[in-house]
Amino acid sequence: MTNQLVVSGVTKRYGRTTILEDVDLTVRGGEVVALTGENGAGKTTLMRICAGLIRADRGEVRVGGAIGYCPQSPGLFELLTADDHLVMFGRGAGIGRSESIERGHDILAEFGYPLHERAVTRDLSGGTRQKLNLALALLTDPNVLLLDEPYQGFDRGTYVNFWDHCETWRGQGKAVVVVTHMLAELERVDRVVELPAHPSRAHHGFAR
């Protein structure tokens, strides 16, 4: 399998605080990588840099195609329904209304989303919102998946189901990076990569 995500020498600072310093990471297609590290180690920052949402101060990221990014907290429109979100996100990738809903429902059904619900996202539980959040990341069938603790609020069954899906995505040749603190599940990934807490942060009050 070819490399699908290559991070080379990425450095990111906020003010005088170094969040990431000279980080390298390579993920091949058909590989599931767990990204771990202490609070403040820069896991979310690295994921956001990989997704292109923030710029690194130094270094570069190369990707092998479309990116699906699932942030830690669902950034959703509070007064739109799941279908509204599916249509809107699908249209961005040139997918029509009915196909977006059809694809989205298939993904949501796999994660046990209550499809009979027509509620706006504000009225959904945290776990249900997160399922929609994950479905939006998967909607366009991207080959690089960046999942930042995507199972927040999931019930036990859906949580186990999520790790089963990681294996399915591996079989489909996707490159998957999952930020996780769930050490019990690390045996289900191909590699565990731990981001070190950078020493410079000790001087600025970050957890060590």
Binding site: L25, T36, R62, G92, P196
Partner: protein, 243 residues
């Protein structure tokens, strides 16, 4: 064609979002109405207050629509939208909505205040509504937080209401053109073309400003494509600990 479809979808979704905010919609109408009704005894001042009061309502709704969705906007750009399409989608819904409110409201003012040229009052209030959208977009895109944005809206529109149209300060404010039209509607003469051109140019400048700021906030960096990825040797990942 895809660009148009993306803009239409954004307009539709912002429409759905706002029409589910019943209290916000009620305030959108109540705010300029209260400005007008509170000053009806002041004659001409009431028409100006009500007209420019529209700016608070429409630009406030626009600003909050952009500030409350910066996070999801960036994901939409990652999903394939361009920042300008997100802005145009909002313009597409909020512009006509503002015009509808302005039409109803100016009809009421024309009935109660008897301006010399009622059609010009409709045009002036309509221009306030239209100008409010790029103004709200620019403020929302430039300022990261709702408090700062709200204070700027209050400051700018409040200043527009407070100063005389002849004041040099009034001339650099965004609602100067529409205010002149509203003022002209009260008499049989008064400029029309100048305020129209000025409002159009000001609106265009605000839209460009909004585009620049929103691009800074939601733009997504495009990484190098697949062919380059395959050529890269494994760098060994020396900085990370692999378990």
């Amino acid at each position: 064609m895809n660009v148009l479809r993306r803009i239409l979808i954004m307009g539709e979704m912002h429409g759905r979002d706002l029409t589910r905010r019943h209290a916000a919609l009620a305030l959108l109408i109540a705010l300029p109405l209260s400005f007008y009704l509170a000053s009806t005894r002041s004659g001409a001042t009431a028409v100006s207050a009500g007209g420019v009061g529209m700016a608070f309502a429409v630009s406030g709704a626009t600003m909050f629509s952009i500030l409350s969705s910066i996070e999801v906007d960036q994901r939409l750009v990652l999903a394939g939208y361009r920042p300008i399409e997100l802005l145009m989608g909002r313009l597409l819904f909020l512009g006509p909505l503002g015009l509808v409110i302005a039409a109803g409201f100016s009809a009421l003012m024309a009935t109660l205040s008897h301006p010399a040229r009622p059609w010009l009052l409709v045009a002036g209030v309509g221009l306030v509504a239209l100008q409010s959208v790029p103004f709200g977009l620019a403020v929302g895109a430039a300022l990261a937080r709702e408090l700062e944005g709200t204070l700027v809206l209050i400051g700018v529109i409040g200043l527009q209401l407070a100063v005389e149209l002849t004041s040099p300060v009034a001339k650099v404010l965004p609602f100067y053109g529409p205010s002149r039209l509203i003022s002209s509607s009260l008499t049989q003469d008064g400029p029309i073309l100048g305020p129209l051109v000025q409002t159009s140019l000001y609106g265009l400048a605000l839209m460009i400003l909004a585009r620049l700021f929103v691009a800074r906030r939601v733009d997504v960096q495009q990484h190098l494509p697949h062919a380059d990825v395959a050529d890269v040797a494994h760098p060994g990942e020396p900085e990370l600990d692999e378990a």
